[in-house]
């Protein structure tokens, strides 16, 4: 009798093992509970889930560092590991590539919500519905933050506007860059003409934000920009185009532009509009070179919030969408956010990482004007259609 019970128990055990193994074949979620030596011997390894990510170039260094860490962390979805196929691209180029079908990513991350707003606005024409929605926190999450700032050689900036920026920053800048007498007006003929710069709005988000900032400043608004403001206001158009046409050279990427400012010194750029994070990345290199480089926060600014959005398209399966969420959770974790802040100068989106943490560049380079509390008023970006109107206006009238 005991022998029979043993046989029955053995039979149940064997049946269970076989069932778990069979279930593991059908669904990798059961793989974890299967007896490991048998599992590894019998079952084929489950196919990993691949997430195709398009991301803006500014965060290349951070993502190149943390994606391998994510893949090594062995996080799984339904028992399947997750790998990331990441491709860098300009923020505008990115949404255009999605709209014209050149790219079919599962997850996109431009530099700011401005590009998401345009994609949200234009995607119904192609896909029959908006494929992104910034307001939907389940599919779109901001993972890094950095404000647009003015970086200038301190001696020159102070000659122009004193120790801190005043409310009429853009007006003053406009008047001096269009003045053929240049720095002579401020008693420094040896500095030549005033060399103010921004990147090309068609290739770089910081340039796009810069022209939006100037537009708002001229119109005296902080929100509610309309296409009519851009297309029907002669005073604005003249003022804006004069300022843009006085820019000697538009950069194609914020990082390279900031690097050039440090490499060539004030002979080439007196002041540029760029991300705070880009300024931090070059802060150590700027020390002892050509004088003192300083970061100024304009009275109003725009934030690059680096949204990561899962696309609402046919090719993004629910499995991929869940895998993307696992990736986003990892990118929003304290250690990953700390890397972004300490090494790359981004402001974290989690409370567990502070700008006052040991080794923070915000403390280290405070003398450069970096401030933990951004004093600028944050502007509300307009709709995607208005943003597109501004870009088109620039492309028609300024594009080099």
């Amino acid at each position: 009798m005991p022998r029979l019970i043993n046989w029955i128990l053995f039979g149940v055990y064997a049946l269970t093992v076989i069932s778990v193994l069979a279930a593991s074949l059908i669904s990798p979620a059961f793989r974890a509970v299967a007896y490991a030596p048998v599992r590894e011997l019998i079952l084929p390894p489950p196919e990993p889930i691949t997430i195709n990510l398009l991301y803006s170039t500014e965060k290349e260094a951070w993502l190149e560092e943390v994606i391998p860490l994510f893949e090594a962390s062995e996080l799984t979805v339904d028992g399947r590991s997750v790998v990331v196929s990441a491709k860098k691209m300009g923020s505008r180029e990115m949404y255009l590539a999605v709209l014209n079908g050149e790219e079919t990513p599962d997850l996109i991350s431009p530099a700011s919500s401005l590009q998401i707003a345009i994609l949200q606005d234009q995607s119904p024409d192609v896909f029959g519905r908006p494929i992104v929605n910034m307001a939907d926190t389940a599919s779109c999450r901001s993972l890094l933050r950095t404000p647009l700032v003015v970086v200038a050689w301190k001696e020159r900036a102070e000659a122009l506007w004193g120790p801190s920026l005043s409310g009429d920053l853009w007006k003053r800048l406009h008047d001096v860059v269009v003045n053929p007498q240049g720095w002579d007006v401020y008693g420094h003929p040896e500095w030549g003409y005033v060399k103010f710069g921004q990147t090309n709005p068609l290739t770089s988000n910081s340039g796009f934000q810069a022209i939006l900032l100037m537009t708002y400043a001229y119109l005296g608004k902080t929100d509610g920009l309309t296409s009519a403001d851009i297309l029907s206001n002669d005073g604005y158009q003249k003022w804006f185009l004069d300022l843009q046409r006085a820019i000697p050279e538009f950069g194609n990427s914020s990082g390279t532009y900031m690097k050039d400012m440090v490499a060539f010194g004030p002979s080439k750029y007196d002041m540029i509009v760029v991300y705070e994070s880009a300024a931090i990345e070059q802060a150590a290199n700027a020390i002892g070179r050509y004088g003192e480089l300083h970061v100024y926060y304009p009275p109003t600014t725009l934030w690059s919030d680096h949204p990561f959005c899962v696309l609402n398209t046919d090719w993004v399966t629910s499995e991929k969408a869940r895998a993307a969420q696992v990736l986003l959770d990892y990118l929003a974790s304290d250690p990953t956010q700390r890397i972004a802040m300490l090494k790359y100068g981004y402001r974290p989106v989690v409370s567990g990482v502070s700008l006052h943490d040991r080794g923070s560049p915000f403390s280290q380079y405070a003398r450069m004007g970096l401030q933990a509390e951004v004093p600028s008023v944050a502007l509300q970006p307009p709709s995607g259609a208005v943003l597109n109107t501004l870009l088109d206006f620039w492309a028609r009238n300024v594009q080099p």
């Binding site: 240049g182 040896e190 003409y193 390279t256 002979s267 080439k268 070059q282 290199n285 002892g288 070179r289």
Partner: protein
């Protein structure tokens, strides 16, 4: 017997197949790709040993081909003219600066329908365009306390006064020179600086400025006094340094050439002791502004460049941008493109330069304005 012959033949056929397979494999593994580079001669001292080092290290493309770099120094504009004529088909063009790129693109479009230079090429090393002058002469003119510029030098060159007016009759006439503007980057920027000085501008140079009779007259007057020599700045500099102050009082060169010359002079002074012939030279940063030699590394957008050559050229570019090579750029007098490298010796007053200069630049004009300025130079 017949069976033995058949077996022997089979073995031979098999062996020959194995041998040929081995050879094919060896050839595939031993294939090489050549990257031909034409570059401005001012960076020869930096590039030549690095090309040799890179070739000796047997770098490979992702496909396993060994990269061989063949680099030829040449006037920056001379090379583009030869490319347009089809006499030169390089993989990479690295002129002294990007100033002439709009003209190169415009000419390339006329001939091939697209741009020669696409994207934003990386800069390899930086150096401002300066007026190199023998130190005693610069001091006689009030340097370093008195800022000097293009207009001052032009006035000196065209005036009837000679060095006697400054208390040095033994130096004779003031002789100013630059390379030929049709062939060399420093030559064309010298002409542009002259036009800017004549138009009393620092930016927004237009065709109207070029056609302004006063500007044309000013340029012609300066041109009449200029000593110009050769198509390449480094070779011109060598001639100036070899022949001394009686050959030329001042010339338009790059800062790195002044540093390199001073490095040699100081080393010779230590070994051979001071001799009167070893006159120091200094860089004058024109007060109106100057141009930068940014030494772009341009992968030419031409049909003769293969994908394998592109990959190989990118590997060599990365090698040049790596820190050890950037440090060598500093050693020979360039300001490195890598901003993590501080601007230290030999970029100092002892070597005739000032890293806090230049204070401003002259704006690079549009293609048609550059070409019109070149046409003012009739020799």
């Amino acid at each position: 017997m017949k069976k033995h012959i058949q077996t022997g033949l089979s073995i031979l056929v098999f062996a020959s197949l194995v041998l040929s397979a081995c050879r094919a494999a060896r050839e595939a593994a031993g294939s090489q790709v050549t990257v031909s580079i034409v570059y401005g001669s001012e960076k020869r001292e930096w590039l030549e040993p690095l090309v040799e080092q890179f070739n000796n290290e047997k770098h490979q493309t992702p496909n396993g081909a060994t990269i061989v770099v063949e680099a030829t120094p040449m006037g920056s504009l001379e090379s583009i003219a030869l490319m347009l004529e089809g006499q030169l088909q390089p993989t990479v063009w690295s002129p002294a600066s990007s100033v002439y790129v709009p003209v190169a693109n415009a000419e390339w479009r006329k001939k091939f329908g697209n741009d020669l230079v696409t994207g934003t090429p990386n800069d390899l090393a930086l150096s401002p365009v300066v007026i190199a002058m023998w130190k005693p002469m610069a001091e006689a003119l009030g340097w370093p306390d008195k800022p000097l510029g293009w207009a001052d030098v032009a006035t000196l060159a065209t005036s009837n006064e000679d060095w006697a007016a400054y208390g040095y009759p033994e130096w004779g006439e003031f002789k100013f020179g630059h390379t030929h503007p049709a062939f060399s980057n420093s030559g064309v920027v010298s002409i542009l600086a002259g036009v800017y000085a004549g138009a009393n501008k620092q930016r927004d140079l237009t065709l109207d400025d070029i056609h302004n009779p006063q500007v044309a007259e000013f340029v012609a007057e300066v041109q009449g006094t200029i000593i110009f020599d050769g198509s390449s700045t480094a070779f011109f500099a060598e001639r100036m340094f070899k022949n001394g102050p009686f050959y030329l009082s001042a010339a338009v060169l790059y800062e790195n050439l002044v540093v390199a010359q001073e490095t040699k002079r100081l080393a010779a002074r230590e070994i051979l002791h001071w001799t009167p012939e070893q006159v120091p030279i200094v860089a004058i940063y024109p007060k109106e502004g100057t141009f930068w030699a940014n030494n772009p590394y341009i992968l030419v957008n031409a049909p003769w460049v293969t994908d394998e050559q592109k990959a190989a050229a990118e590997a060599f570019e990365q090698f040049l941008l790596d820190k050890p090579q950037q440090l060598k750029a500093l050693e020979v007098g360039f300001r490195p493109a890598d901003t993590s490298i501080p601007l230290t010796s030999p970029l100092d007053a002892e070597h005739g330069v000032d890293i806090n200069q230049p204070q401003t630049i002259l704006e690079a004009p549009k293609a048609e304005v550059i070409q019109a300025a070149q046409s003012l130079w009739s020799r």
